[in-house]
């Protein structure tokens, strides 16, 4: 212990001076808090763009071929304000690409990961601050290339966000737009890998004294495991992009088949590479969300996480399993029976750690003293949508059911319940929860709660509606479903989904208003407004440049809420680095003493 104290004193002496000058402070900053905010704003901006695209897609499905009101003439002028099949194709391609790679990834991993990791671990910055800056600017370059792809001859990328070969090769997409898409995804991946290496090293090497792995907040676990998956599997995507680039630009034939079977390249190789990355990607995005929700449920239920070790074990189990299940995306490619059945079984096994996770959440809530502040509402909403989204995944893991449901709107509904609903819910929970720490002001509770209800209800209507139309047989990515007689009766339902989607879109203005109004004029945030014990709440809001005046020495886990010993202090929580004065021999115990072996 003494050695640790000395180490901490030594660190206290090397507080780096805060940079001066506008560029160093706000643009090319190496401060993880500034980079985190940069990622946050970049991602939120693209979230808005991707959201507008979703609204246009829903307009076309509600009223196929009708001119788009308000913005139609501006966006689709040559077509008289009507979304053409080519424009529709570009819209859903870019909606998927932007939402996954340029909205959720930067906000959640780049934004919150950056801002929170050093603060939660008790460090002054990331392990590699300059690499961190490079990660952001590489992402920025990726967004520039992606934006450029809208304005090239032959139009924007039109091969879907999955860009299956051979549609994404010169055979199906001859224009430069698709090539720019490939470059943008490659750069985006490079940014993710830089971040991942940095996050992993930070967790391994920069934890404050006493911050053992099993004392880390679940949020940190989420980002840590996500980074491991990113470091392992984003390079696979990068490999696919390099080969696709060669096929497009240099005339190679990695993914282009010859005229006879067995000769030339193999389009299925692309699918293997893409989903070998693509399925872990789902977990790359959901793991931080699970971590955040795990922590916040405990914070607002005023209880420790129920089964912390089981939760961490489940997260690790999901990470391991996520690497061997990707084949369920390819059941209809005629894969070998042995492979198909193995992938089916492996996919189903993931439901074990996932249900343990949900049980831990429910156990945490039970016998708590639940405070329903805005972040908590979004967490509870996340639990609900994740339940529906997770369970509908089983339909697609089952080969028999997948023969019918594959490539229908059932798939779209399922992954939007996870990727859009559960992720968006936890993303909003994170914004409402850490906004005070990031910007030093509280967000408005009333507007927050209104935003929650106007998001939660339409969101579920939209994506559960998609499950229904998929169940009734409608394929994804159809410009005009009424081409098929069997889909004609679904038009009223499609229209209903679209109306719910418009409401969902409109409700986000409440968030934008709340965000910017609070930024300018919200109530000043105290150091620890939510009364919780993790380390980021021991420093000022917003934290000073060097985070901690003295590196804290951690003595207990992150969720010591309603702790009996805290009663003497007149509150119900204990900080992770809080040393309690030895109480004068208590005549009567203040509450049941923690059982031996509990993480103190």
């Amino acid at each position: 212990m003494t050695a640790e104290v000395e180490a901490s004193d030594a660190q206290a002496d090397e507080i780096p001076p805060a940079p001066k000058g506008f560029l160093r402070r706000f643009v090319f900053s190496i401060d993880h808090k500034v980079i985190g905010r940069q990622f946050l704003f970049l991602g939120l901006g693209f979230l808005a763009i991707g959201g507008v695209m979703a609204m246009l897609i829903r307009w076309q499905l509600a009223r196929p071929g009708a001119p788009v009101p308000l913005v139609g003439k501006l966006l689709f002028g040559p077509a008289g304000g009507v979304i053409s099949p080519a424009a529709y194709t570009a819209l859903f391609t870019m909606h998927g690409t932007i939402m996954i790679f340029f909205a959720v990834t930067p906000v959640l991993i780049g934004g919150f990961g950056n801002f929170l990791l050093p603060l939660m671990l008790g460090a002054r910055d990331m392990a590699f601050p300059r690499l961190n800056m490079a990660s952001f600017w590489t992402m920025f370059a990726a967004t520039a290339v992606l934006t450029a792809s809208f304005f090239v001859p032959l139009g924007p990328p039109e091969a879907g966000w999955t860009a299956y070969a051979t549609l994404s090769t010169a055979i199906g997409a001859p224009g430069p737009g698709q090539t720019l898409w490939v470059v943008a995804i490659y750069l985006n991946g490079a940014s993710s890998v830089m971040g991942a290496v940095n996050y992993i090293t930070t967790v391994l090497r920069m934890r404050a004294p006493g911050m053992t792995y099993l004392r880390m907040p679940l949020t940190v676990w989420g980002f840590f495991l996500t980074s491991i998956l990113n470091a392992l599997f984003v390079p696979v995507l990068a490999a696919a992009m390099v080969l696709l680039f060669f096929d497009r630009v240099l005339g190679t034939q990695f993914f282009i088949a010859g005229t006879t079977p067995g000769a030339g390249g193999d389009p299925i190789l692309y699918q293997h590479l893409f989903w070998l990355f693509g399925h872990p990607e789902v977990y790359i995005l959901i793991l931080p969300a699970w971590g955040i929700v795990g922590d916040l449920l405990a914070f607002f239920a005023r209880k420790p996480v129920f089964g912390y070790r089981v939760t961490v074990g489940s997260l690790i189990g999901v990470v391991v399993l996520s690497t061997v299940v990707y084949g369920h995306h390819m059941f209809t490619t005629g894969m070998s029976p042995l492979l198909g059945e193995s992938f089916m079984l492996l996919t189903m096994i993931i439901s074990v750690p996932t249900s343990l996770l949900v049980l831990s959440w429910l156990g945490t809530l039970w016998r708590g003293a639940i405070r329903t502040a805005t972040p908590m509402l979004f967490c509870l909403g996340m639990v609900f949508t994740f339940g529906v989204g997770g369970l509908t995944g089983l339909y697609l893991a089952d080969i028999t059911a997948d023969m019918y449901l594959h490539d229908t709107y059932f798939v779209v509904g399922h992954f939007h319940l996870i990727m859009a609903s559960a992720l968006l819910m936890s993303l909003f929970a994170a914004v409402y929860f850490w906004f005070p720490k990031m910007f030093g002001r509280m967000m408005n509770e009333g507007l927050g709660k209104l935003h929650f209800w106007l998001t939660f209800v339409p969101l579920n209507l939209v994506f559960m509606g998609q499950l229904v139309i998929g169940y009734e047989g409608m394929q994804r990515r159809l410009y005009d479903p009424s081409v098929y007689d069997f889909l004609k009766p679904l038009l009223p339902l499609n229209r209903g989904i679209s109306h719910a989607a418009y409401l969902l879109g409109a409700a986000q203005f409440i968030f934008v208003l709340n965000f910017f109004w609070s930024l300018a004029a919200g109530a000043r945030a105290a150091t620890n407004p939510w009364e919780v014990g993790t380390l980021e709440w021991t420093v000022a809001s917003p934290p000073p440049h060097h985070n901690f005046d003295r590196i804290p020495i951690v003595v207990r886990g992150p969720h010591e809420l309603s702790h009996p010993a805290a009663r003497l202090l007149g509150r119900d929580w204990l900080g992770q680095a809080e040393v309690i004065e030895p109480a004068p021999a208590p005549s009567e115990p203040a509450g049941p003493a923690p059982a031996p072996g509990e993480p103190a």
Partner: protein, 247 residues
């Protein structure tokens, strides 16, 4: 609102519907139980005056852990394992047992391209690429009561032959031959669709499957063969590949 699957006109479609129904029932029960528990916690364990502290437990007593693992395992066995066994049986006895040895099976070569389907049936000589082949565009004619055995190729990008009324689909992939079999139990006209996004006019890549009673089908086939012979052109035969080597 009436939520229904498209009409099932196939011999084995009920197995697909059965799997979907089983999943809806079991996951519905699991979800309802979890949601009930969540709502109960929200109703009974909300913070209020006189109740500001939660029960301090880390949930690490052996009883807590046993409970969590039991619930997770019971769910896994009741839903996943049961379903996987059932699916595995159906795949091996029905869906993946291709009628290679069945002389009554109708064999069809399917060629997919942006954005149309070509169906080629061997004529009475049973060989593909000869003058009596019957080739149809975006129309698949089949008899009721006999297995239909399709082998598919694509000439440009990945497509997917989707038969909603037969509860099945299979991709058509450049450089590969994929296969699918099904059997109609009802006569009628059913829609064929492309399920895999294949470019700008993907949404128009539909077709018609016409299932006729055996005598009507034979009559149609005789007529179509006569037409084919009359119009036979060596150049059109190049669209075929050899069924036997095209595995």
């Amino acid at each position: 609102m009436h939520i229904v699957l498209p009409r099932d006109a196939s011999l084995d479609g009920h197995l697909v519907d059965g799997a979907i129904g089983y999943l809806t029932l079991t996951t519905g029960i699991a979800f309802a139980a979890a949601l009930g528990f969540l709502l109960a916690a929200l109703i009974f364990h909300r913070a209020r005056a006189g109740r500001t502290r939660g029960h301090h437990t880390h949930g690490i007593r052996s009883r807590d852990r046993a409970l969590m693992f039991t619930v997770a395992l019971v769910m896994f066995v009741a839903i996943d394992v049961t379903l996987a066994l059932r699916t595995s049986r159906d795949l091996e006895t029905r869906f993946w047992r291709y009628p290679d040895a069945d002389p009554t099976a109708l064999r069809v070569e399917v060629t997919a391209r942006q954005w149309a389907w070509t169906f080629r049936t061997a004529g009475p000589d049973g060989r593909f690429g000869t003058a009596d082949d019957v080739v149809t565009l975006n129309e698949l004619d089949i008899p009721v009561g006999r297995p239909v055995y399709l082998k598919l190729r694509s000439r440009d990008v990945v497509h997917s032959l989707y038969l909603p009324n037969f509860r099945t689909k299979i991709d058509a992939i450049p450089g590969m031959t994929t296969r699918l079999w099904f059997q109609a139990t009802e006569t009628g006209r059913f829609e064929i669709a492309c399920a895999q996004f294949c470019g700008v006019s993907h949404y128009k890549m539909g077709g018609l499957l016409i299932a006729r009673p055996e005598p009507d089908y034979r009559e149609w086939l005789a007529r179509a063969e006569t037409d084919s012979r009359l119009r036979y052109d060596q150049a059109t035969a190049t669209g075929a590949w050899d069924w036997e080597t095209g595995k």
